[in-house]
């Protein structure tokens, strides 16, 4: 086994060597600008880009012409929300989104509220982190121009009822944007069947390169229009100017092709591993809580709160394993995970949460080792925890008057 062990695949994934191989010629021999129409260098680059566009579109059941390349999912989310608001401002000024969206959607929505006077409804989620489609329906007004709900959550892996939301959006004639950064390439996504009009995703979450993403923009039924947020040479059908990063795009295409071929097998293998890890941990430790949905979740995601133990110290205790925590101490904001808080998880348990993100290259022995080390470290830290001691003495921690600081 090689150390450190990488179990943070929601954050980013290692690039598949087959992806790297596909990219290499486009750095050197085929270095042309895909927009150069009058020589072979440009044609080669364009051919690479268009082949990739097809591979990407195929994975999500879209047409190649509906793929707009961006620098990543953050840009795609910005472009979708800002582009729709700018284009359809005469139709209305209301957006519906959910409280557990990625910051790239939430902060874009907040910026639109502040700078453009857009009204935003942030829908609550249930205790598993799921948006209720009926809440979406009830939030719709005659001013609603966009519904933006994520496919699957990046922390807890809960998969939203996207198809039901898409159906409501169609019924009401409102555009539906889906941030599918965590879902694409991991579970089957069909933009036709699910009624998605705009969809954000990126390459580096699916074993492709960092620095490239896409926004799917529906071309018919309805034809979606967005205002460009980057002015320039009019690339990408005028929606996103800027010279295309050809090697990255070629790699993105290859990554999608591999996902199309291997997604089902990866998901089956990883969900078995994930379930075994969960079972091992719950068997060995008491007061362990699953965050997110028990079944409607990404196959490679496990998010657990270990009561009486703070997340950052747990990560420090097994630092040969790369994991992530919802603890305030691991966030830039010094607040515990807003996603877990939105589920109604208490702040103390949010501080105690650990996210395991398995991936294509995760080995059985790595997961078994991680399980063993987590159990050891939680046990050690609980011995050190005054909260565990109090709980063992039968003190109800909620009844204690804590001196908040």
């Amino acid at each position: 086994m090689k150390f450190p062990i990488y179990l943070d695949n929601h954050s980013t994934t290692p690039m598949d060597p087959r992806v790297l191989e596909s990219m290499l010629p486009y750095f050197t021999e085929k270095f042309g600008n895909a927009a150069s129409r009058n020589h072979a260098f440009g044609w080669d680059a364009e051919e690479g880009v268009e082949a990739a566009r097809k591979q990407i579109a195929k994975l999500i059941h879209a047409d190649a012409k509906e793929i707009v390349f961006t620098s990543g999912a953050t840009e795609s989310n910005n472009l979708a929300l800002k582009g729709v608001v700018e284009m359809y401002h005469e139709k209305g000024d209301h957006i519906i989104t959910s409280s557990t969206e990625h910051r790239a959607v939430l902060d874009t929505a907040k910026s639109l509220e502040a700078k453009r006077g857009v009204k935003v409804t942030y829908l609550p989620v249930d205790k598993f982190g799921m948006v209720n489609p009926e809440d979406v329906r009830n939030a719709i007004t005659d001013k609603t121009i966009l519904i933006s709900v994520m496919f699957a959550n990046n922390e807890i892996g809960t998969i939203n009822p996207v198809k039901a939301i898409g159906k409501i959006a169609k019924e009401k004639g409102i555009l539906f944007h889906c941030d599918a950064t965590q879902g694409v390439g991991k579970v089957p996504i069909d933009v036709q069947d699910m009624g998605i009009d705009l969809m954000s995703f990126s390459a580096h979450k699916i074993y492709g390169p960092k620095g490239v993403g896409a926004l799917y923009v529906r071309k018919k039924n309805p034809r979606v229009r967005i205002a460009a947020q980057m002015d320039g040479g009019g690339h990408e059908r005028g929606m996103r100017s800027g010279t295309l990063p050809v090697p990255l795009i070629v790699g993105f295409g290859k990554a999608c092709r591999l996902c199309e071929q291997e997604m089902a097998a990866d998901a089956a293998r990883l969900s078995v591993m994930r379930d075994r890890l969960h079972a091992t941990i719950t068997k060995a430790l008491e007061d362990v809580y699953l965050n997110g949905h028990p079944t409607e979740r990404l196959p490679h995601n496990l998010n657990i709160s270990f009561a009486y133990v703070e997340g950052e110290s747990l990560l420090m205790g097994c630092k040969e394993i790369a994991l992530s925590s919802g603890s305030a101490c691991t966030s830039a904001t010094l607040e515990p995970s807003y996603v877990l808080r939105a589920l109604g998880v208490g702040a103390e348990l949010a501080h105690s949460s650990i996210r395991f993100g398995l991936g294509r290259f995760t080995l059985d022995e790595e997961v078994d080792y991680a399980g063993k080390r987590i159990i050891e470290t939680v046990t050690k830290l609980r011995e050190m925890s005054p909260l565990y001691e109090m709980a063992k003495e039968g003190i109800d921690l909620k009844s204690v008057q804590w001196a908040a600081h």
Partner: protein, 127 residues
């Protein structure tokens, strides 16, 4: 974030981790922090003839919080009650090389020392 070697050392080899019985003679207990804030420290001192002869801690919190309280117990042992009251959070910051975002851990440790001393005093006065 990378931790200083001293923080890692205290985290891996915590000094004086454990508990005294609260009602025991000469024992002062300070519990500070809150679970919602992500850190709770319990610091205990055992005093004989005005000198702290032993100290113990238990901490729920990040590595720096655990290290701050572990270091505090090390420093408390052998000090008089009066000397113990003079330990400052800035001393802990300096010793452990805590970065700015972790200064609150040292503040909590100072608060825990003060709370333990106050508890000891209260028990002594009520006799």
């Amino acid at each position: 974030m990378a931790y200083s070697e001293k923080v890692v050392d205290h985290f891996n080899n915590p000094r004086n981790m454990g508990s005294f019985k609260k009602e025991e003679d000469g024992v002062g207990t300070g519990i500070v922090g809150a679970p919602e804030c992500g850190d709770v420290m319990k610091l205990q001192i055992k005093v004989e003839n005005d000198t702290i002869v032993d100290a113990k801690f238990k901490t729920f919190g990040c590595g720096s919080a655990i290290a701050s309280s572990s270091l505090a117990t090390e420093w408390l042992k052998g000090k008089t009650v009066e000397e113990a009251g003079k330990i400052k959070n800035t001393d802990i910051v300096q010793e452990l090389n805590l970065p700015p975002v972790k200064i609150h851990c040292s503040v909590l440790a100072e608060d825990a020392i003060k709370a333990a001393l106050a508890d000891y005093q209260k028990k002594a006065d009520s006799k």
